[in-house]
Subunit: 328 residues, 2 copies
């Protein structure tokens, strides 16, 4: 497809430009317009001009708040009154909890009973109701089904949901407003909500931008899925980047396949190196998953023609007592 | 003095409004216009609306770059050609080193021979010439004198210099542009360069703002100096806030005495608590000295009428291998 063709959405449920614009309007009263930071020393390390979109500074410390706020505030009053539900031990849980509190509706969060206490406390701190379950995917799904059946709450999937994808797309939309002449945007790939929203926003607004997804080599299911044209589940992922261990969804996969230029993978050592460099040089906290795109730059995985690169720093939720460079 | 009187500078060498404006113009091509961040949870902890001016995100990770850039770029070509010199093992050393490199002139930095290696490496990384000396104040001053005599370099004092104070004042000037209706601005007090520049900028531009200085109880020389009307040297300071162990200067003291509403002191435990809260909630790195103003908010040291408070986060240079909450 050439750049001047009007792109068609790859799936009737995939958000279009209007959906992303509407999401931006909808979340504006609640979400931060996060800053874009630059660093001469990171530019020197990366050999390009880098523009870091700081979603670690977003509400709840992650881009996930954009999608959650968009979906929660899209519900009709009747739907919303019964609340929302999801299963998650990560940033989506906190994001959905806060978005629900802001709308004044209940959030039911199914969490594995072995979830870190700090994460449970964070979700509870936003006023959500937590339902614990055994730590298997099957138990999570069954428990969620029961919660939905009993409460009538709306299930909000963490990424395979058009409202979530449109919400995540507002991040790249803002980035393009803040830095108008990027040639490349890179984002981490977990379930694909962020990278598919990013790819759609860039395609609709500035199609010359190459969108590249990055994932850890130890969780390269998206790389293999794109290569072979079918969704591989993420099995036994081995990576410090705990936000990127999930599989692609049936909604995110075709969007990524069509609009993401390629997926590259990075080593664990590069992730830790990138994370520490961002902390030390930019003075901001990022979680391992957020370091993955810059790790790709450090590994020289981008083409030389990528000169002005937007990097989405996806989140900053880390345990300050367990930093990776302090492990013996 | 009433607010509508035109304030007189308390010392003919103290910068006036024009000097601060000129400093802002002079450093604009080199310094970051740092963002102002907010956090609902920190507001809830502090019981007020807090606006954090992020000088930890400034070049070299500290507000010190403003003063250093202003002084270095104020020099005539003849003066500058011989370079600049100072003695410092802290952020001023890095700031002066980078400002000199940007102007293309030599920087001679006298550092105690027991300086942390990471700080030596940072100064050297900016291309400065380092001269080691025994770790006493007297050796530092004598070594610096010799360096100045030999090279003809201009000594740039870290705070008792009108160009430094004017440069530091640009931070509050920006903050007032970014958040027009503050009632209070708080800043840490070490040698007094930041708080005196802050107080002058507020006095000149929006005199209704109360400027409050904060220092650790274990380094309360400025508190005692203001109380008794004479400069007490900082002797045996005991605080984690290593940037605040210095004494007031003959130039900063009268400015603070006239324009800073008061100085409050905080406990060490509050400093660590404030530092960790900013890391966890705002996802940014701040050094202990930068946490001192928020510690004062947490301790309830500000008056209730302070509702919209600007907090200058002075810097973010920390050793990631030695965080205070990891000490056994």
């Amino acid at each position: 497809m050439t750049d001047d063709q009007k792109p068609e959405a790859p799936d009737p449920k995939a958000p279009d430009l209007e959906a992303i614009r509407a999401a931006a309007e909808r979340i504006r009263p609640y979400a931060h317009r996060t800053p874009v930071l630059t660093s001469s020393s990171l530019n020197a390390m990366g050999g390009a001009e880098l523009f870091f979109k700081c979603e670690n500074l977003q509400k709840v410390g992650a881009f996930k708040f954009r999608g959650a706020a968009n979906t929660v505030f899209s519900l009709s009053d009747a739907e919303a009154s019964r609340g929302v539900a999801t299963h998650s031990s990560g940033n989506h849980a906190q994001a959905l909890a806060l978005a629900s509190r802001l709308r004044g509706v209940p959030a039911h969060i199914v969490m594995p009973e072995n979830s870190p206490r700090v994460k449970v406390a964070a979700v509870r701190g936003y006023g959500a109701r937590i339902i614990f379950c055994p730590p298997t995917q099957r138990d999570r799904e069954q428990t969620l089904e029961k919660v939905v059946a009993r409460t009538g709450a709306v299930f909000i999937h963490p990424y395979d949901n058009p409202g979530i994808i449109a919400g995540q797309g507002t991040c790249a939309m803002e980035l393009m407003e803040q830095v108008p002449d990027l040639d490349t945007v890179i984002a981490p790939v977990g379930g694909g909500g962020l990278v598919s929203g990013t790819a759609l926003a860039c395609r609709f607004i500035r199609p010359v931008i190459r969108v590249i997804g990055v994932e850890p080599k130890g969780a390269d299911d998206a790389f293999r899925s794109l290569r072979d044209g079918r969704i591989y589940p993420s099995e036994n992922p081995r990576t410090i980047a705990d936000g990127l261990r999930t599989s692609l969804g049936t909604l995110t996969f075709p969007i990524i396949r069509r609009y993401v230029e390629r997926i590259v993978t990075v080593e664990e050592e590069s992730i830790v190196e990138a994370m520490r460099a961002v902390w030390e040089r930019m003075k901001i906290l990022i979680e391992p998953s957020a370091a993955v795109p810059f790790a790709a730059v450090l590994e020289g995985k981008l083409e030389r023609r990528s000169r002005r690169i937007g990097i989405i720093l996806s989140g900053g939720n880390v345990d300050l007592d367990g930093l990776p460079w302090l492990d013996a």
